[in-house]
C-alpha cells in the first residue's frame, strides 16, 4: 500500500492524472456534452458525430500534449520536449485545417476551430513568457550592482571559493541575541545571499531567531554541535560545510564584521562617517579554510617578555585576538621555546612579537637554521631593545634606525607617539593590494632602513647587502612625523630629529628561489611597532589585523587567500543652514504646485472656450 502511494506521489503520475482530467474537462466544453452523452443534432451537411468527436478529441489532446511538453522541458530538458511540442502543435494545426471547411455547417467544429486558435495563441504567449523567465532566472540570478562602491559585488576570490564548493554549505544566521547589531542584520543577510547566488545548489541559508520559542530546540541542537556558540556574544553567522559525520563548522560573530573607521586623523566635526564591512573577508576566509582542510601551525617565539598568546580580553596586552583570528583561518598559534627545542617541522612560519630581552645565541642560531631551511618569519618589534636578531634582519637587508617615531597630527588620542600612518594610496605588493585606502596604527615604532637602498656618506663604510634579497617598502608614516632621539623631552627639534616619512613596514623576498608563476619566495616581513598586534591596538584599529593576516598569508605562500578588501560605506551628514534647507523645501515644491495648477487652469479655460 505504501509503495502504491509512493508511486502515486511521483510527479509524472500526478501530471498524467491532471492531464487526463484536463482532457476530459476540455473535451466536454468543446464537444458540448460529456463522454457517453449524445451531442446536439447538427445539419445534414455536417460530418457524422463520430468524425466530429474524433476531431475534437485530437484538438484537445494536442493542447494537453503541448502542456505536457512544457513539463518535460522543465523536468528532463529542452531536447526531450521537442517531440511532444511537435506532436501537440501538429495535432492542433491539423484539426484546425481539417475543420475549417465545415465551419459554416457544424457548430461543434466552429467551436473546435476557436478553441484551437485560442490554444495556439495562449501557448505561444505562454511559451515566450516561460522562455524569457527561464533565461532571466538562469542567467540573471546575480543582481546587477549599481552602487558606486560595489557594495553588492563579491570579489573574484569569494566567487571562486563559493563556486568551487564540493560539499553543501549551510549558513545559519542566529539573530536577535543582541539589539546592538540589529541595524547590521540586513547587510549580513544580503552578503550571504550573494554567496548563495553564486552556487545555489550547494549553499543553503537558514535563520534562527534567538527569542523565538518555536526555534529554541533547533538552536539548542546547534549549540550542542558547536560549543563555541555558547560563549560567543551577539548575533552570529554559523557555517557548516559537509554532510553526515564529516561536517566542519565555523562561527563568525556579526559585531566583528563592521567597524567604524579609526578616528585617528579624523575629527568629530567632519560631516561624514565611514564604516568598513569586512564580512566578505571573514566568510571567504572560513570557506577557504574548509576547503584547505588540514590545519597548519604558526610558532610564536616566547620567553623574552613577549605578550602572551592566550589573553583574549580586549584591554589586556596579549595576542589573543590575533590567535583567535588565525584559528578561524585554520591556523593554530603555538608558543615556541627555542631554548629547549628547535623549531618543529610542523611550524610553517615563525613570528617574533616584541621581545623585551635579548635572545640567547642558541635561540638565534635555531631561528637562523629555520630561515636557512626556507622557513619564513614575521618580525614585529622596534629598535629600542637589542634582541640579538639584528644580524638576522641584516641578512635580509633590514635595520632599525635610532629613535622612536612621533607624529603630532596623525595619531590616536592626541598622543604623538601613538602614530597612525596616512591612508595607503597605491601598493603593488600583494600584502597591500587589498588594504589600499586604509590607515594603520603603529605605536612606538622605529624607522626601518633598507640596507643598500641609499648611497653611503663619504666617511661611512659600504654596507653589506645581501644581493639575493629583494625588499619592498610596505607602509610609511606621514611627512609630518619625526624620529625622536631624546625620549626624555619628546618634541620635534629641527636639525636634530630626523623628519619623516619613515618606513615602518618592509618585506623581503628571495630572488634565488623563484616559485611557480615567477614569484619570488617570501622570506620575511618586518613591522617596526612591537604593539601593532596587541589586543588593545587591534581594538583601536582593526585594520592592523588585516595587515598582519595578509603578511602571514603572503609569507605562507597563500597569496590566493590574501584578505578581501572591506567594503567601505561612507555616510555623509547634510550640512545646511536653515536658509538653504528652506530653499530646498520650498523651491521645488512651489515650482511643481504652480506647474500642476497652471496646467489645470489652462486645461479648464481651454475646455470652457
Amino acid at each position: 500500500m505504501t509503495q502504491f502511494f509512493e508511486w502515486m506521489g511521483q510527479p509524472e503520475v500526478i501530471v498524467l492524472g491532471l492531464g487526463t482530467a484536463l482532457f476530459l474537462a476540455l473535451f466536454w466544453v468543446v464537444r458540448g456534452s460529456p463522454i457517453g452523452q449524445a451531442t446536439a443534432p447538427e445539419p445534414g451537411d455536417a460530418p457524422p458525430t463520430g468524425y466530429r468527436d474524433r476531431l475534437v478529441a485530437v484538438a484537445v489532446l494536442g493542447f494537453v500534449v503541448i502542456l505536457a511538453g512544457a513539463f518535460v522541458a522543465t523536468r528532463y530538458g529542452i531536447l526531450w520536449s521537442i517531440v511532444p511540442f511537435v506532436a501537440g502543435f501538429g495535432m492542433v494545426l491539423r484539426v484546425q485545417q481539417v475543420s475549417r471547411k465545415y465551419r459554416h455547417v457544424s457548430q461543434t467544429l466552429r467551436r473546435t476551430i476557436e478553441f484551437s486558435n485560442t490554444a495556439l495563441t495562449c501557448t505561444l504567449v505562454g511559451g515566450i513568457l516561460i522562455v524569457g523567465n527561464i533565461f532571466a532566472f538562469r542567467y540573471g540570478g546575480k543582481a546587477l550592482d549599481f552602487t558606486h562602491d560595489e557594495a553588492f559585488t563579491l570579489s573574484t576570490l569569494s566567487v571562486n571559493a563559493a563556486k568551487a564548493l564540493e560539499r553543501p554549505l549551510v549558513f545559519t544566521l542566529i539573530l536577535g541575541r543582541d539589539q546592538g547589531t540589529a541595524r547590521q542584520r540586513d547587510r549580513v543577510r544580503q552578503l550571504v545571499d550573494l554567496y548563495k547566488a553564486q552556487n545555489p545548489e550547494k549553499i543553503t541559508i537558514k535563520e534562527l531567531i534567538a527569542f523565538n520559542p518555536s526555534q529554541s530546540a533547533e538552536l539548542d541542537s546547534l549549540v550542542k554541535r558547536i560549543p563555541d556558540l555558547a560563549v560567543s556574544r551577539g548575533d552570529v553567522v554559523v557555517l557548516e560545510y559537509g554532510e553526515d559525520n564529516a561536517i566542519e563548522r565555523g562561527v563568525v560573530p556579526v559585531f566583528d564584521l563592521f567597524r567604524q573607521q579609526t578616528d585617528a586623523g579624523r575629527r568629530e566635526s567632519e560631516p561624514q562617517s565611514s564604516t568598513a564591512f569586512s564580512g566578505e573577508d571573514k566568510i571567504t576566509s572560513a570557506i577557504v579554510r574548509f576547503r584547505e582542510g588540514k590545519r597548519t601551525q604558526i610558532g610564536f617565539v616566547s620567553g623574552h617578555g613577549e605578550p602572551p598568546l592566550d589573553l583574549l580580553e580586549p584591554r589586556e596586552m596579549g595576542l589573543g585576538l590575533l590567535k583567535s583570528r588565525l584559528a578561524s583561518l585554520g591556523t593554530d598559534a603555538v608558543a615556541l621555546n627555542l631554548l629547549t627545542e628547535d623549531v618543529p617541522a610542523s611550524v610553517a612560519l615563525v613570528v617574533v612579537v616584541g621581545p623585551r630581552t635579548k635572545l640567547q645565541d642558541q635561540e638565534v642560531a635555531r631561528l637562523k637554521s629555520f630561515l636557512e631551511r626556507g622557513g619564513p618569519m614575521l618580525v614585529v618589534m622596534n629598535g629600542e631593545v637589542k634582541t640579538g636578531l639584528e644580524d638576522l634582519l641584516a641578512l635580509h637587508n633590514v635595520a632599525f634606525e635610532p629613535g622612536l617615531i612621533f607624529d603630532a597630527k596623525s595619531n590616536v588620542g592626541y598622543r604623538a607617539d601613538q602614530v597612525v600612518t596616512p591612508p595607503l594610496s597605491t601598493n603593488d605588493h600583494p600584502i597591500g593590494q587589498t588594504l589600499i585606502g586604509q590607515r594603520f596604527f603603529v605605536p612606538r615604532s622605529s624607522p626601518i632602513k633598507i640596507v643598500g637602498s641609499t648611497t653611503p656618506k663619504p666617511n661611512e663604510p659600504r654596507p653589506r647587502v645581501n644581493p639575493a634579497i629583494v625588499n619592498y617598502p610596505l607602509i610609511r608614516t606621514s611627512p609630518e612625523s619625526w624620529a625622536e632621539t631624546n625620549l626624555d623631552r619628546p618634541s620635534f627639534e629641527k636639525g636634530i630629529d630626523p623628519v619623516g616619512p619613515f618606513l615602518v613596514g618592509v618585506t623581503a623576498s628571495d630572488r634565488s628561489e623563484v616559485e611557480a608563476g615567477g614569484k619570488l619566495k617570501p622570506r620575511m616581513v618586518v613591522i617596526s611597532s612591537p604593539l601593532v598586534a596587541l589586543n588593545p591596538t587591534l581594538q583601536t584599529d582593526p585594520m592592523n589585523l588585516d595587515l598582519l593576516l595578509n603578511s602571514i598569508q603572503w609569507l605562507r605562500g597563500k597569496q590566493e587567500t590574501l584578505g578581501v578588501a572591506p567594503k567601505v560605506h561612507t555616510a555623509i551628514r547634510f550640512t545646511a543652514d536653515p536658509n538653504l534647507r528652506a530653499k530646498l523645501h520650498l523651491v521645488p515644491t512651489v515650482i511643481s504646485v504652480v506647474l500642476i495648477l497652471g496646467f489645470g487652469i489652462i486645461t479648464y479655460l481651454a475646455r470652457r472656450a
Partner: protein, 254 residues
C-alpha cells in the same frame, strides 16, 4: 498599430480634461514634500549608520509607507475607468465599430495609464537634483538608476493588472477594489507572509520574499537590480495585456 498615438492622445485627454488627475498629482506632491522633509531631517543627523542598507535615502521612496499607500490608491483610481467606464457609458461599442483592433485599444489605454503613472512619480524626482546640486549633497546616484528601472517595470505591471480588472466589469468601483486588493496582496501581504514564514522557519520564506513587491523595490533602492524581478514584472504585464485583449475580443464577438 498606426492608431495607437491617436488613441493614447484620446486617453490622456480623458485624464486631464477632468480634475481627478490634477488632484491625484497634488496629493502626490504633498506626499513627496513630506517625505523630502523627513529625508532632510534624517540627513542632518550625525552619521552613525553602519551600512548602506540603512542609508537615509532608502527611506525616501522604497521604505516609505505613505508612498506605497498613496500608490495603492492612485493606480486603481487611474485604471478603473479605462475600460469599465467605456462599457458603462456604451462608448466601447462605438470604439469597437471604428477600424481599430482590440489590441490597439488595449495597448493604447495601457500606454496612457503608464504615462500617468510616470507623472505621479515626477514630484518625487523633482527634489533630488536640488539636493544634489543646490544642497551640495553628493549621494550615490547609482541606486537611483536601479530604482527608476525597477519602478518602471513595476508600474507597467500594476497598470496592466488594473486594466485587466477594468475589462472584467462595468462597475469602476469593483475594478478599483480588485486592483487595490491585488496590489495589497503583492505589496504588504507578501511581506507579512515572508515575516511569518521566517518566524516559523518555513521553507516558503524564500518564495514569499521573492514575491514581495516591498522587498523588490527595497533592493532596487539599494542599488541591486535583479533581472528576475524585471522578468516577472514584464511577464505578468504581458500576460495581463494578453488576457485583456482576449476579453475585449470575446466581448466584440458577442
Amino acid at each position: 498599430m498606426k492608431h495607437i498615438p491617436t488613441l493614447v492622445k484620446r486617453e490622456l485627454s480623458a485624464y486631464f480634461f477632468g480634475p481627478m488627475a490634477f488632484l491625484i498629482l497634488l496629493a502626490f506632491q504633498a506626499i513627496a514634500w513630506m517625505n523630502f522633509y523627513d529625508l532632510l531631517d534624517r540627513l542632518v543627523r550625525n552619521p552613525s549608520t553602519l551600512s548602506g542598507v540603512l542609508d537615509p535615502l532608502n527611506f525616501y521612496i522604497s521604505r516609505s509607507i505613505t508612498f506605497w499607500i498613496a500608490l495603492m490608491v492612485a493606480i486603481p483610481a487611474l485604471t478603473m475607468r479605462l475600460l469599465a467606464e467605456e462599457k458603462r457609458s456604451g462608448t466601447i461599442e462605438t470604439l469597437l465599430t471604428v477600424p481599430v483592433t482590440e489590441t490597439e485599444v488595449v495597448v493604447s489605454k495601457w500606454i496612457a495609464g503608464v504615462a500617468m503613472y510616470f507623472a505621479l512619480l515626477l514630484p518625487f524626482a523633482v527634489y533630488l537634483p536640488f539636493l544634489y546640486y543646490q544642497g551640495n549633497y553628493h549621494y550615490d546616484v547609482g541606486p537611483l538608476y536601479s530604482l527608476t528601472i525597477g519602478m518602471t517595470t513595476l508600474g507597467m505591471m500594476f497598470v496592466a493588472i488594473g486594466l485587466f480588472f477594468s475589462a472584467l466589469t462595468k462597475n469602476q468601483i469593483v475594478a478599483a477594489i480588485w486592483t487595490f486588493a491585488t496590489m495589497f496582496l503583492l505589496i504588504f501581504l507578501a511581506e507579512a507572509g515572508y515575516n511569518f514564514a521566517v518566524a516559523k522557519g518555513s521553507a516558503w520564506a524564500d518564495v514569499m520574499q521573492f514575491l514581495s513587491i516591498f522587498y523588490q523595490v527595497y533592493t532596487f533602492g539599494l542599488g541591486q537590480l535583479d533581472l528576475r524581478f524585471l522578468a516577472v514584472h514584464l511577464s505578468i504585464c504581458a500576460f495581463m495585456l494578453f488576457l485583456t485583449i482576449k476579453l475585449v475580443q470575446w466581448r466584440r464577438a458577442g
